[in-house]
Structures are given as C-alpha cells and as structure tokens.
Symmetry: C2
Subunit: 340 residues, 2 copies
Amino acid sequence: MLTERQLFLLRALVDDYISTAEPVGSRAIAKREDVNYSPATIRNDLADLEEMGFLEKTHTSSGRIPSEKGYRFYVDHLVSPVLLTAREMQSIKKAFTDMYYEVEKVIQETAKIMSDFTNYTAIAMGPELNDTKLKHIQIIQLNAEKAIMIIVTDTGHVESRTISLPKKVSARDIEKLINILNQKLKNVPVFQLKTKIEKEIKKVLNKHIENYEQILSILDEALSYHPLDQIYYGGKNNILAQPEFRDVDKFLPLLNALEEKETIYELLRSPSSGINIKIGHENNLVAIKDCSVITASYSMGGEHMGTVAVIGPTRMAYPRVITLMEVISRKLTHLLTELY
Amino acid sequence: MLTERQLFLLRALVDDYISTAEPVGSRAIAKREDVNYSPATIRNDLADLEEMGFLEKTHTSSGRIPSEKGYRFYVDHLVSPVLLTAREMQSIKKAFTDMYYEVEKVIQETAKIMSDFTNYTAIAMGPELNDTKLKHIQIIQLNAEKAIMIIVTDTGHVESRTISLPKKVSARDIEKLINILNQKLKNVPVFQLKTKIEKEIKKVLNKHIENYEQILSILDEALSYHPLDQIYYGGKNNILAQPEFRDVDKFLPLLNALEEKETIYELLRSPSSGINIKIGHENNLVAIKDCSVITASYSMGGEHMGTVAVIGPTRMAYPRVITLMEVISRKLTHLLTELY
DNA sequence: GTTAGCACTCTGGTTTAATGAGTGCTAATT
DNA sequence: AATTAGCACTCATTAAACCAGAGTGCTAAC
C-alpha cells in the first residue's frame, strides 16, 4: 500500500517528468515550494516506489522516471483534472463553428484542432456507416462498358464506385434497376444492404430485368465499404518535436506505422465508448511501444459514429489531453447531431 | 569550354557521388578501371571544374561534390540513358494491370509504384478536371435544410458537396432544376460550368423556378473544385533513409512542406509537358533546397490530365529516375486512355 | 521517522592526440 | 606542352582521457 506521501511524490515526479522530459531527482522535488521533506526522505520513498515498479532509473545514479506501471497508476488514480482557460475554450468553440457542412470535412478538421491544441499527433476515424441509412442510390452510365454507382446516406456521406457493366444491359434496364433499388432500399441501414438485396430484391429483379445476376454480383462488390478511407491525420510530424524521438531509429517505425492505415485502424478501433487510454506496450504494437494513445468516441444522434485519438510519447501531458479530448468529443458529437 | 576528359571526369564524379554519398577524391576516380590518368592529372582537372563552378568541396582538403550547377550540367548533357531490367519492366507492367478501375485509385497507386521503384518520395497529382465534361448532375435532398449535390464527369470523377437549401424551395423545384441543369449542361467542360450557368441557364430558370437566385449562388460555390484533394503520396518517409537527411532540422521542414498541399500544388504545377527536372534552389522553396524534383505529366486521350513527381535529394539517381518516370507516365497515360 | 553527511556512480561535455583521406604545388618525366 | 611523382599541409573523424555535476545509497545523528 502506498502512503500519502508516496502518492504525493509519485504524482509530483510524474508531473515534473512530463514537463521537463528529464529524469527527476530527489533534490528537484524537494525544491518545490509545496514540499517540506528533505531530499533524503524523498530518496527513501522514491526507492520504495522503484521497488514496487512505479519508477525506473536510466542508470544507477540518475534521477528517476515513471515506468509504464507508474504512468498507469498516475492515469488511474492521480490525474488532477485540468481546466482549460476561457481563452482556449473560446478558441475551440470558434474552430467548431467555422466549419464546413460536410461530415468528412468536420472530422478532418477535428484532427487538425486536436493536434493544434495538444501538440501531439492526432487521428480521426469515421464516420462509420454502421447505422446510417441509405438515402439514395444512383447508377450513371459513362459509356458502353462502364458506369458509376453512387450511394448517398442520410448523414450526407457519398460513396461512389466505378463498375463495369455486363455486355447485355440496356440503358432501360439500368433505369429500372435504379428505381427498384431506390424503392426497396431507401432507409435501409447500410450494413444490411447486402443481405437485403440477397433476400428481397433478387426476386423482384428477376421479373423485370434480364441478366440481372451479373449486375447484382457487381453491385455486391461495389457495396463493400472501406473504412480505411476515413482516417484523417493532424500534426503528423508533431511527434518529431518530442525529445524522446530525436533519433531516426526511434521515430521511423512510428512514422511508417502511421502510414499504414490498416495498422492504425486496428489500433484505434476502440472497444468501449468514452475516453480510453493505452500506455506504451498496452497498445500491442511494437512501433509505438514508447507512445501512449488516448482515444475518445463521438456519436451522432446517439449512435456511435467513430473515434478520435491523440498519440504522443508515454510521457504525455495526460491531464490536459484528457480534458481536451472530453471537450472535443462532446463538441464534435454536438455539431454532428445538430447538422443532421 | 570543357575538354573531353573534363566531361568524362565530371560524369564519373557525379555518378560516384550519387551512389556513395561521400565526397569523391582524385584517387577514387583514378582507381576506376576505365580511367588511365593519374590522380594528379585528375586533380588538376577537378580544380578547373571547381573553378568553373561545377564542383564544390566540403572543406579545404576534402574530396569534391557536385554543385547545383554541376548537377544541372550533368542532367542536361551527361546522363547516359539507363535501361530497366526486363524483370523491372515486367514488374511495373504487372503493377499497372492489377489496378482498380477508378481513376483516382489508379493515380494513387501510381504514387506507390513510383516510390517503390525509386526509393524516394513520390507525389501524384490529378486528374485535373480542366477538359473533362459534365456527365451528370444530381441534387439529393437530405432534409428540409440540406441537400447533397453530386457531379459526375465523363472520366468517372465524382464530386459531391453538401449544400444548405434556401427556405422556400420545394422538392418539385429541385427536380425541375436538376432536369434543366442536366439538359443544358451535359457535355459542357467542367471549367466552363460557372460561366455557362451565368450566361444561359439563368434566364431559363427564371421562368420555371421561384427563388432561383439563392439556389444559383449556392450552386456556384459548390462548383469550385479543390485540386488539393487530388494529391497522393507514396513512400512519404523514404526520404528519411537518405544520409543527407539524418538530422531532424534537415528533414523536418521538408516533411512539413509535404503536408502542406497548397505548397506541393504550387511546386508541382508543371509548366511544360514531358519530363521536367528541378534541382535544389531551382524549386524556389527553401524547405526543399536540398532536394531535386522530377516531374512528368500524364494525359488521357491526348488531354493533359495531371502530374506525377519524385522528390529526392539533389544527389538523386537521375538516370534511373528519369527513365522510370518516362516509363510510368507512358503506362499511366496508356491505362487511363484505355479505361475511358 | 526524518535528516545531514559522505562516498560512490554515471553522464556529458571538453580537450588532446592520432589517423587518414585528400588537396595544391613544384619539379621531374614523357 | 601535357602528365605524373613527390611532398608538405589541411581538415574531419575517432578514440582516449579528463573533469564537473547531478544524483544515489547508506550510515549515523537528530
């Protein structure tokens, strides 16, 4: 069990290390005005904290730095809530009101805002199409072989695909097809489209259109949604300003990982809602073993829509980022819900 | 005027420096099997070349490296064409045949290919909409205030914008509007849409639709095209592997410049067609003063469509990259022309 | 339980010296 | 007249040596 003083010292040390990025020694802590213990006393406690695994030393006679376990404890029990200044709140508010109307643009812009306010790298994912509903479907023929299929959802998301038409489809058939699809599929949740087509549309089409099978198979393929297209970054290179990433070998894997949207997608798919914090190895991704990831989910009219995240060194300004993420996910949710 | 031997030595030195990244001394050149001059002779010529501004020294007693003027001369007069291996050609061909059908995807993929084959950073821009023609325009109402406007071009490009509807527009009016627009604007080059609307459509609309002015103003804004959305990267971090960019201060401005699409757009808007090479300061952008940019334009059915580029250190493997760019822009043009 | 004192450890920066690659110049050679 | 050998000199790089400073752990005193 940790004593009051140990708790206090652990917090003080982590706070200090977060802001200086230098190992913290007993003397440095003792010098703080709110501390009345002598360096020696502090040393004893720090030694205990180290023994318990909350702290580490970079070498035998260095000051101490928090271990991952230390950060975890700090995040779970010691973060004191930080208030943003009125100025900052104002500035965030402004950023969110000046925005475009398109959902994608909003998400994209949010990533920028997050990175600007945290000075870390921000990632925004989504919107996921899960529960959005089909608003309109359209096929526009380009030439004898090719056509564009466009799908619009009720959230204003537009997906388009080029499809190659089977040989024996007439313009009339396509028109019929569109009419049927729109009639039957309007307001169907996007993720149900495929099964719905399979179950209900097939028969109807059969009656009206020749060659419907080939069209359907293409439709089917065209309906697969790529969530990887919906990943936006802000301040991608901010991480390079952090002293722990001075070395090329340190940040190159990280930068490369950021480029792999698959990896990022897996990393951020947040299991729970609300704020989520993963520290270092908790992320299960070697490239970011020295980073922490803080995610927050946002929604739209109560439906979970996507995730925003900030990625920084494990020595991250947790308190600030946490409050910031809370504010931003709230604002984002609010804005999106209001928009549609 | 340069003597034969000086020409030869300049080429040899640049070649050598390109592959080793180390200043090249007289002895190193003398050792080459195709060289029969003594180091002293070579030294004299190198001194002359330096005096003429083609070479530089990193310090008084170092070997020499090419100056920008040296690279320029090398590129203009000394590059010996390089042949790609059959294997490589095969591999490029394969990459281009495995591709998606969408133009955007093709461009995107091309950036990847270029970076993979050069190990530098690749950028692909376009397609520019200049001469593509409108195929279809559509407005889909989402709710009382919002609608999506979708524009499809004959190259299969889809642009969509969210627009907010004026209060007093009925669904019927919108339908009318779309019909008129499609009727009048089909096959009009995209860049003429605005003026065409201004000149011809206004009157027609006036007759049929109330409140047409508000709609038009929105339409007008929605029609502005953002070429910045059409910039794709490949191997963004490849540049970090180059020894000249070991230092954070060296590559950070570069990486940041890459993130600014405005900047990149200005940088790559190639004036001429064909292959274009800009060396170091010729680029007029401090962030890439130590880089060279090789651009190539591609087209579609004879119409210029966009630009692809490779950006690497001034010490770039020019011969190889040049041939590679030629091959790729040809393949790309071919593929796109065939697709539509 | 807390603190002062002290010996000990390790880092980081600075100095010194040695090595080696490369040059420019002069004089000899072809 | 052009080329080359020889040599003194320069500068960067590396390793070793050294020193100062920050910090610890431990013991003994408070």
